[in-house]
């Protein structure tokens, strides 16, 4: 029998994979992929909670998260393309203008 905990643990595992991606990758595109993973892992958690407690709010939150993810990608990719046009690189290490 699959319980809520199973889903939540899965969600956490996916989340930590996403965290590793966020911290590890230097390719900016990969960074976006990792963010998608993070958002999706949270989605799984929401939907599972919604299912096991019989409450629809979780699904709706997941729905809004998908909307946020979509718009984030639109803007983020736009900026990324612009950056690439300017510098010819999408390597994170070349992005150090804010060095203090």
């Amino acid at each position: 029998m699959i319980t809520l905990t199973h889903y939540l643990v899965l969600s956490v595992i996916l989340f930590s994979i996403g965290l590793v991606g966020v911290m590890r990758r230097k390719n900016l595109l990969m960074l976006f992929f990792s963010t998608e993973i993070l958002l999706n892992s949270v989605n799984i958690g929401f939907v599972a909670v919604s299912h096991y407690y019989g409450d629809l709010s979780g699904q709706l939150f997941a729905f809004f998260i998908i909307a946020v993810a979509a718009s984030e990608i639109a803007v983020g990719l736009g900026l990324l393309v612009l950056w690439y046009k300017k510098t010819g690189s999408i390597n994170l290490d070349s992005l150090q203008m804010m060095k203090g």
Partner: protein
């Protein structure tokens, strides 16, 4: 009558503030005249108040609420009753004379204006001290005169010895003021008010032990201000200040504030005769102790300072034995002749180009006849020769001691009277008569300006005639103060008077006889007792060895070890920690998104840990 009260109180303040405006500018005779006029106005108001109080009743005004916090409510109130009006008249009279005198005395001083500002501020503080109708107001005046005394002793602050003496006086007074404050706290604690009338009305209901402690603590305050043993050393050193200051503050007014306090709190001290006896004993001791030091000293002003100390001892004897009006009477007469003596000494000092050693003077009578006469009058009055003022008051004190049955005190005072007569005339003889030693030093003496001399005449007059007001003074003051009952026979009194006069006269005659013939031989300077007296019984030395040096060592230790190594070091450490942590945290700002994300995850972990351990109150 209230307006006269306010005029008497605030005229000196106005003078002081106006003079203070010109403190930095060069000498301006206007400030001297202006402040003198205001003090004189204050004096006139005091006289009017004296008549009013004599004819009608006491004046009591409440100027404003001062402190009201919780149950504590103290108003800024003033009272003019028989005691305070006597003090007011004495203070303003002497102050007026001193102000006028100072115009002449300080005329070559750069800080002429500043001097008058301080002097008037002192008078204002003294007026607050004597006019306040509660202990807290008295304390404010008490501290005010302490401050002005500090300012004036250290008036020539560029002189190390002057600023040292000023600090000494100030610190000694602080020690004593602590005692006084404790007394005031005790009063408030047990009675819940500081108004004189309320305190005196309810002090009877208190436990005698508490009353004793109150009396002792208040007397400690009085000891500091009136320079009683063992806090006496500052008075002699305070002579570093300008001579008018010595006359006004360290002879006539401020140092008598202690006596005033005892007289004022007389209703407390009548309840505790044991403490009174102690006060009287200490007073008698100081009377002889100080007089003995005056015998051998060669410093003109110091001799008079010791004489002041000795006379204060007399006052304390009277106050301690419950003869408050006599203490007050001696306070008043003493103010007249002692300030006269000091101001005369100031003239001599000027004439001798600030030379103070009386062995280097002599034969000044011809050059400065008026001064010599004035100082002679003052000395005779001080010695207590009929019919001058000192005779009446001092003799009364001896009678009180005899009447009380404390024959030891009487004997001490009796000896003191002889010593007083001797050293007074030793001074007169060495300064005004004998060989003109000063010619060796090429000094040409000159008499002070006429107006200075004229300014002194009221004091001289009073030094002569004040004694005859004894009876009216008695009538006047005993309306308020407790009466002192003499139980002696008339014949005993006559005998006592003769005895006292005899010893005073013999002291004078001995001094005159001895110094007319050239004084004592040099040999006595090698006597042990001479050295002991000259070194003030080694008490300053003792203080230095026992208190100042260990304290300095302790302070040095605290500075090097506690302050430098703990306080400063910990402050430095905080700064250094912040600085270095900032220096290290700067590396976080690498501008690299990857490392920033790592830090973000660290932050997430911290928040998660918080989420686990933080439990909101449910």
């Amino acid at each position: 009558m209230e307006q006269y009260l306010y005029i008497a109180l605030f005229a000196p303040l106005v003078g002081s503030l106006v003079a203070a405006l010109f403190a930095q500018s060069s000498k301006n005779i206007f400030t001297g005249i202006f402040t003198s006029t205001l003090i004189f106005i204050s004096f006139v108001s005091s006289i009017i108040l004296l008549y009013y109080v004599n004819a009608n009743t006491i004046v009591n005004v409440e100027m404003m609420d001062w402190i009201s916090a919780g149950n504590l409510s103290i108003s800024f109130g003033f009272v003019v009753d028989q005691v305070s009006v006597i003090m007011m008249v004495t203070v303003t009279l002497v102050s007026t004379v001193v102000h006028v005198y100072s115009i002449g005395y300080m005329e070559h001083d750069e800080s002429f204006n500043r001097f008058f500002s301080y002097l008037s501020a002192f008078v204002f503080s003294m007026m607050i001290l004597v006019m306040s109708d509660n202990f807290l107001g008295l304390f404010i005046g008490w501290e005010g005169v302490g401050l002005c005394s500090w300012l004036l002793i250290g008036f020539w602050y560029k002189k190390t010895s002057a600023s040292w003496a000023a600090n000494e006086a100030f610190i000694m007074n602080r020690i004593a003021d602590l005692g006084m404050l404790m007394g005031i706290f005790l009063i408030y604690w047990n009675i819940g008010s500081l108004q004189y009338d309320i305190v005196f009305a309810s002090i009877v209901n208190l436990d005698i032990k508490i009353v004793s402690w109150i009396g002792i603590f208040l007397f400690i305050g009085a000891m500091g201000k009136s320079a009683q043993f063992p806090l006496h050393t500052w008075l002699a050193d305070a002579m570093e200040g300008p001579t008018p200051v010595s006359a006004l503050i360290h002879a006539a007014t401020m140092v008598t504030a202690g006596v005033y306090l005892i007289v004022r709190a007389g209703e407390i001290y009548t309840l505790i005769p044991n403490v009174g006896m102690f006060i009287a004993s200490l007073g008698a001791f100081v009377a002889v102790f100080a007089a003995s030091m005056a015998l051998v000293n060669r410093d003109l002003k110091r001799i008079i300072a010791y004489s002041t100390l000795s006379q204060l001892g007399y006052m304390f004897v009277a106050a301690g034995l419950g003869a408050y009006w006599i203490a007050l009477f001696h306070l008043m007469t003493h103010a007249f002749f002692k300030s006269l003596l000091f101001l005369g000494a100031g003239n001599v000092m000027h004439a001798m180009n600030n030379e103070l050693d009386i062995k280097k003077m002599g034969g000044l009578y011809k050059a400065m006849r008026p001064t010599a006469i004035l100082m002679g009058i003052a000395s005779v009055a001080l010695a207590g020769i009929y019919p001058l003022a000192g005779f009446f008051s001092k003799d009364k004190i001896l009678e009180v001691a005899f009447n009380d049955g404390s024959y030891i005190l009487w004997a001490a005072l009796f000896v003191g009277a002889g010593l007083t007569a001797f050293y007074s005339f030793r001074l007169i003889m060495l300064v005004f008569f004998g060989d003109k030693v000063h010619e060796k030093f090429g000094i040409v003496p000159h008499e002070a300006k006429p107006f200075v001399i004229y300014a002194l005449t009221p004091l001289a007059l009073l030094a002569i005639v004040a004694g005859f007001f004894e009876h009216s003074f008695y009538e006047f003051t005993t309306q308020l103060l407790a009466d002192y009952k003499f139980t002696l026979d008339h014949s005993v009194v006559i005998n006592l008077i003769f005895a006292t006069s005899a010893i005073a006269l013999s002291g004078i005659i001995f001094a005159v006889y001895k110094y007319i013939r050239g004084g004592f031989s040099e040999k006595i300077e090698n006597w042990r007792i001479y050295k002991l007296l000259l070194n003030q019984y080694y008490i300053p030395k003792l203080y230095e060895v026992c208190i100042i040096k260990p304290f300095a060592t302790l302070s040095r230790f605290a500075w090097l070890n506690i302050d430098n190594k703990i306080v400063d070091a910990s402050v430095d450490m905080i700064a250094k920690t912040i600085c270095s942590s900032g220096e290290k945290a700067r590396e976080m700002q690498s501008g690299n998104l990857s490392s920033m994300l790592r830090w973000m995850v660290v932050g997430i972990i911290v928040l998660l840990v918080l989420a686990i351990f933080y439990r909101p109150m449910v």
